[in-house]
Amino acid sequence: MGETKTTGKAEKPPRPIEILRDRMGGVSKELQASVKEQGRIRKALRSALAGGPRTVPELGAQCELPTPDVLWHLMAMRRYGEVVEAGEAGDYVRYALKGSE
């Protein structure tokens, strides 16, 4: 007759977030890649803006990123309080890290 080995610790029931994650089949590879890419782009933009205010084309050239992507990420950073406008340069707006302008 086999014996059940007990550790003395009761197994914790899964938390609601874990249940939902399992129900959704975990985090998709596409979403993981997208979040990773978001982190990479934000890091590059922050680093470039640390050197002073930049326009979208300037950031695109410096970070080697397409300008539509730069604009979208910059506007996300602006919406959530990380980036502000810092004047204009010809037909473009200059953006700066908040607090550095």
Binding site: P16, M24, V27, L31, V35, V70, R79, Y80, E88, Y92
Partner: protein, 440 residues
């Protein structure tokens, strides 16, 4: 969040300006209304518009009082993030089956503090801003949203749990599930509003392919003070556009795309946007190419004249093609109708396609109301009872019945509410079931 009761006087499908007005017109008469909205906030298209024509009043400033009134009205129960799945006749009234989608947030305890949104690490293109701006995976729909409650987009959630940790009221409910509820109503008003013609309908215009060929709702958001850029910029590189063209009838009056009707509002919204661009951008050149201008409403012709007087170039011309050139600029090839069909090409920073209106919702499979050939709800008594559908007791108002502007939609909402009220009186639905039984 209040439970959906087993009985109301009327069900209003759609929480845009038309649905809210119909609900208010019924609620003010003492009828109990259930207002169902598929999005996480009421307000519909109107709350996202910049200004309204011809008065140039702030659109959300007109819409938000209606939203607040609907949401606080003693006789109106607003249910957002829900969809009507079926409406079937039963006895004198209808039984409605409604899906309450999982918000993953307890609406009763969420205080709309945004802490969850601020800490969420996932940015997602925001539908409210036509995907030009960002929201988070957990977010409050927008600044004017009612209710000011968060909603979790579970498709973009990475289950990091940061929102749960930071929430001061512990309102994140990851194990919330969608539920199907059933209720009985004496009348139904369909106020499901509009979509715009898909941008890719006319491939020769490059909609959906060229970054600087924009749809008119995107331009509304770009012009809005709370829009994605905070000022007017073009999407390809954030340039302040100095040369902008509007192409009229880009999604209506065109048999080749299956939309032969005039959408009625495109001339006016384009003229309004064009005029505002002249106000917002110093020295901007705005040209509007049209087949003919239809300025049919009160004060609209005067507004059209004002737009031209303030420097918008309005040219009778049929745009043949739009092509993208270097720097994502766009070249418009146009046949000038007042100059014997002479063809010209002009280069622009940005082009807005005046897309037409199509129905946002179809009754098929939900309620047995017929649609007209154009896809909008059929209104067989359009001349004398414009809100009547082909099913007695189900009424329609606003763009769900056909393209129209905001004033006409509001008038129609009132008409539908009166028609529904008349029916509720006729069938004796308004009285409580017990009182109605005693009267028999």
């Amino acid at each position: 969040m209040a439970d959906i009761r087993t009985r109301y006087d009327a069900l209003v499908i759609g929480g845009g300006i038309t649905g809210m007005q119909a609900a208010l017109d019924l609620g003010e008469q003492g009828y109990d209304v259930l207002l169902i909205e598929k999005y996480a906030s009421i307000g519909g298209i109107m709350v996202g518009l910049n200004k309204v024509f011809p008065t140039l009043d702030c659109s959300s400033c007109i819409c938000t009082p209606r939203m607040a009134e609907s949401s606080h009205h003693a006789h109106i129960q607003v249910q957002t993030w829900a969809e009507v799945r079926q409406v079937e006749p039963e006895g004198d009234g209808f039984v409605a089956r409604i899906e309450r989608k999982a918000r993953y947030v307890d609406e009763d305890t969420c205080i709309g503090c945004s802490k969850c949104e601020l800490v969420c690490p996932v940015d997602v293109p925001h539908e409210f801003d036509q995907c030009l701006g960002a929201r988070r995976a957990i977010y409050i729909p927008h600044g004017n949203a009612i209710p000011q409650k968060a909603v979790l987009d579970v498709e973009h959630c990475i289950f990091c749990g940061k929102c749960e940790k930071v929430c001061p009221t512990e309102c994140i409910v990851f194990d919330q599930e969608p539920e199907m509820v059933e209720t009985r109503v004496g009348a139904v008003i369909v106020a499901t509003g509009l979509d715009i013609t898909p941008m890719g309908k006319k491939p020769e215009y490059g909609g959906g392919r060229f970054l600087n060929v924009m749809n008119p709702l995107a331009m509304e958001r770009v012009q809005s003070s709370n829009g994605p850029y905070g000022r007017v910029l073009r999407p390809s590189d954030g340039k302040i556009p100095r040369k902008i063209a509007y192409v009229q009838c880009a999604g209506s009056r065109d048999r080749s795309i299956g939309i032969p009707y005039c959408s009625r509002v495109c001339c006016m919204y384009a003229l309004k946007q064009a005029l505002l661009l002249r106000h917002y951008i110093h020295d901007v050149e705005v040209t509007l190419y049209h087949m003919d201008i239809r300025a049919f409403g009160k004060g609209y012709e005067q507004f059209y004249r004002r737009t031209m007087n303030e420097g918008v170039r309005v040219i009778k011309g049929k745009v043949a093609t739009i092509n993208e050139v270097e720097n994502n600029d766009v070249v418009v090839r146009v046949e000038l109708l007042d100059e014997g069909g002479r063809v010209e090409e002009h280069r622009y920073d940005l082009v807005v396609l005046a897309q037409g209106l199509v129905p946002a919702w179809h009754a098929h499979g939900v309620v047995a109301c017929a649609e007209a050939d154009d896809g909008f709800m059929a209104t067989p008594e359009a001349k004398i009872n414009p809100s009547y559908t082909t099913l007695v007791g189900v009424y329609v108002a606003g763009v769900a019945a056909g393209p129209k502007d905001i004033p006409d939609a509001i008038v129609e909402a009132g008409e539908a509410a009166m028609a529904a009220a008349g029916r509720l009186q006729r069938i004796g639905w308004h009285r409580a079931p017990a009182a109605a039984a005693a009267a028999h």
